[in-house]
């Protein structure tokens, strides 16, 4: 191993990256764009669901109930209907996704029997939005009913113990906030998995495609020297991208950061080495840039999205799928980032995951060196 050759390789790669404006755009913009796309578009929380109200009771009590819908950011009252036909029309033409119909004598029934129901109409053509909207509506009604209950108990002159129901309602809203916070660190892991492999997936293929490989392999440079020389510049870029994404998670998405930045960057370094090596390995296998970059996307996006625990919890997967996740770097990184961000977990607790990443990295480096031949055949 000659460090002079490694340094010459690093310098050459760095110059080439600097001179290629399109690679700079990929380096800086791609992670940010992906972060925002995944951060917002794949967001499971829904806000401002268009709502139609039809108050057939028209009393203080029914207005009180509907004010609860107005007060939350989950719904936006866009229509107040005067007839059933109107309600149906608003749902049909897509103006509203959810309609709440307060029946006549709502107030009277509630006060006499202590039980009253409200009708909700849902446009379930978008299944996801409908069920989430339904959940929100139920939450609001539950919180309303607990208030009514508390009021009633108070009126009866009974002791006001902390009513269970109102506590439940609070959990509901908190849970939503948690899901957003939970989501973004996973997004950062996903973005870095894709970017990392993509960055290096082109390096070897580009040398073959431009014909520069023939001259390079006629020199005494070693295979590992080429690999290190090509990975180092992208490693530095990858770390900058990690900082960019983590910063955006905290300062833009408002994700709480409870861990240490040192732990975050330490773990990210290991993860980056793993995915950069994966990209390099892919580059060695696919001799054209197009083939390599497509292979990189297939090899990273799908596993990172589906098998990393990012969307689907790993412990609920079939056993075979669970085993597959063990060889996928994003699985460990998603969990590491969530732990560092949300729980402030220390390195000691994550030793197992870090060890797994290190093994994958070593295996990939070894595979790349084996797969790369300094020959034209």
């Amino acid at each position: 191993m000659s460090w002079r050759r490694v340094l010459a390789m690093i310098r050459k790669e760095a110059i080439q990256i600097r001179r290629d404006p399109s690679s700079l755009v990929i380096i800086i913009l791609m992670p940010l764009i992906q972060l925002f796309i995944f951060g917002y578009a794949v967001n499971l929380d829904i806000e401002h669901v268009p709502l139609c109200i039809y108050d057939r009771d028209g009393t203080q009590t029914s207005q009180d109930l509907l004010k609860h819908f107005q007060a939350t950011e989950y719904f936006r009252i866009v229509r107040a209907a005067d007839s059933y036909n109107e309600v149906v029309q608003h749902i049909d033409d897509g103006t509203c996704t959810v309609a709440i119909v307060v029946p006549p004598q709502f107030s009277q029934t509630l006060h006499s029997s202590g039980q009253a129901s409200v009708q909700a109409l849902l446009d379930a053509s978008d299944n996801n939005t409908a069920s989430i909207g339904m959940g929100y509506a139920q939450g609001i009604l539950r919180s309303y009913s607990s208030e009514v209950q508390a009021e009633w108990i108070e009126k009866q002159g009974l002791a006001t113990g902390p009513p269970n129901v109102s506590f439940q309602a609070r959990t509901w809203f908190n849970e939503d906030l948690e899901s957003m916070a939970n989501f973004v660190p996973g997004v950062v892991a996903l973005v870095m998995a894709i970017i990392g492999a993509f960055l290096t997936s082109l390096t070897i293929a580009r040398e073959w495609e431009r014909g520069t490989m023939e001259q390079l392999i006629s020199t005494p440079v070693g295979k590992l020297e080429i690999q290190i020389g090509k990975l180092v510049p992208y490693f530095i870029i990858g770390m900058a991208d990690t900082a960019l994404c983590a910063g955006a998670a905290v300062w833009w998405f408002g994700v709480p950061f409870r861990g240490s930045w040192t732990v975050l960057f330490g773990c990210s370094m290991l993860f980056l080495i793993t995915v950069l090596s994966l990209g390099y390995f892919i580059s060695v296998l696919g001799k054209s840039q197009l083939a390599a970059s497509q292979l990189a996307v297939v090899a990273t996006v799908m596993p990172a999205l589906l098998l990393s625990g990012f969307i689907f919890p790993i412990d609920q997967m079939p056993v075979a799928a669970q085993w597959i996740t063990r060889i996928l770097p994003p699985r460990y990184y998603v969990s590491i980032l969530r732990n560092v961000f949300l729980k402030g977990t220390t390195v000691r607790v994550m030793e197992g995951q870090l060890f797994a990443l290190a093994i994958i990295a070593v295996v990939l480096v070894a595979l790349s060196t084996r797969a790369f031949h300094k020959r034209l055949e």
Binding site: R5, S218, R375
Partner: protein
């Protein structure tokens, strides 16, 4: 490097790609301080041979040593001893001239202390002084080729392989390039060069004529021209050329005939006896004959004559 020290040895070298035999059982040697030219048409196996010797292709059978090192067993050892310039320009177009030199200097482990000296030397040798900061891709072809040579010999290897170094280069640049090669040889370097330009072959100390993977002749240019020509060569200036060629090819005593520029070359056993007969024969067919004389064969004539004897109408050199 002393004179006559064996530098490159090929013994029964064969390379097959599937069922196609690119290099067929060739043996030759190249020695210190000489230019060994590999001459032949495109697809003759020149590049394949050079790539095997540089360790870029695996040989199918036979044996090759470069600077005493076996290319199959120790390709890295060979790479340290050679400079290689591939047929297709393969430096980094997006790097500056000096950056390419520095990079390849680094690949050959030129020390930091020697680097500025070596780069300055290579720039001067390639006539690129003052162009250090030019982006390589923006250089004219001839300059690029000189830079490629500079990158290949920056570490002063004892053996240099040049694969069609002057293809696509204008005549003036080609001449300059050959001057560079001669200067290197004067310093004791073995230069192994492939070409399909017949005029360039004259610059070589020794030539290996190769056709369809086989060696058809070997020797100095003079040896080839005098010894390998079967018969004597006549220049026939006549008009029209087409019918004249047909007539000559079937004429008794003419071994071979070919178009050469705007006249014909004919190979005959005895020039003095054949000349009057040819003039008569052609004029009898209403063909106007101008100059008719015996000439010294060029390498192209030798090549045509050698390859023609292996099969009619095939293997004509460009």
């Amino acid at each position: 490097m002393t004179q006559n020290q064996t530098s490159v040895v090929c013994e029964s070298l064969t390379k097959r790609f599937g069922t196609f035999t690119a290099v067929d059982n060739i043996s030759f040697e190249a020695h210190g301080s000489e230019i060994l030219g590999f001459l032949g048409p495109n697809g003759a196996g020149k590049s394949t041979t050079i790539r095997i010797l540089c360790g870029l292709l695996r040989l199918t059978s036979g044996q090759a040593t470069v600077a005493g090192i076996n290319v199959t067993r120790n390709p890295e050892g060979v790479r340290q001893q050679i400079g290689y310039m591939s047929q297709k320009f393969s430096l980094y177009n997006d790097l500056r001239v000096a950056e390419n030199l520095r990079f390849f200097g680094g690949m050959y482990s030129v020390s930091a202390k020697d680097m500025p000296k070596r780069i300055a030397w290579a720039l001067q040798m390639a006539g690129l002084t003052g162009r250090e900061h030019a982006i390589t891709g923006s250089l004219p072809v001839g300059w690029k080729q000189r830079l490629a040579l500079g990158c290949a010999v920056l570490h002063r290897p004892p053996i240099v392989f040049l694969d069609e170094p002057t293809s696509g280069v204008d005549p003036v640049s080609r001449r300059q390039f050959w001057e560079l090669i001669h200067n290197m040889v004067a310093e004791g370097v073995t230069v192994f060069v492939t070409t399909h330009y017949m005029d360039e072959a004259e610059y070589c100390n020794r030539l290996v004529l190769i056709d369809r993977g086989r060696i058809v002749a070997m020797g100095t240019p003079t040896e080839l021209k005098t010894r390998h020509m079967k018969g004597q060569l006549l220049l026939v200036e006549c008009e029209p050329l087409g019918p004249a060629l047909g007539a000559l090819q079937t004429a008794p005593g003419v071994l071979d005939a070919a178009v050469y520029g705007n006249s014909l070359h004919a190979v005959v056993a005895d020039a003095q006896a054949a000349m009057p007969r040819i003039r008569e024969g052609l004029e009898a067919r209403q063909i106007r004959v101008g100059r008719l004389e015996q000439i010294t064969p060029s390498l192209e004539d030798v090549f045509v004559s050698l390859t023609a004897s292996r099969g009619p109408g095939e293997g004509r050199a460009a």
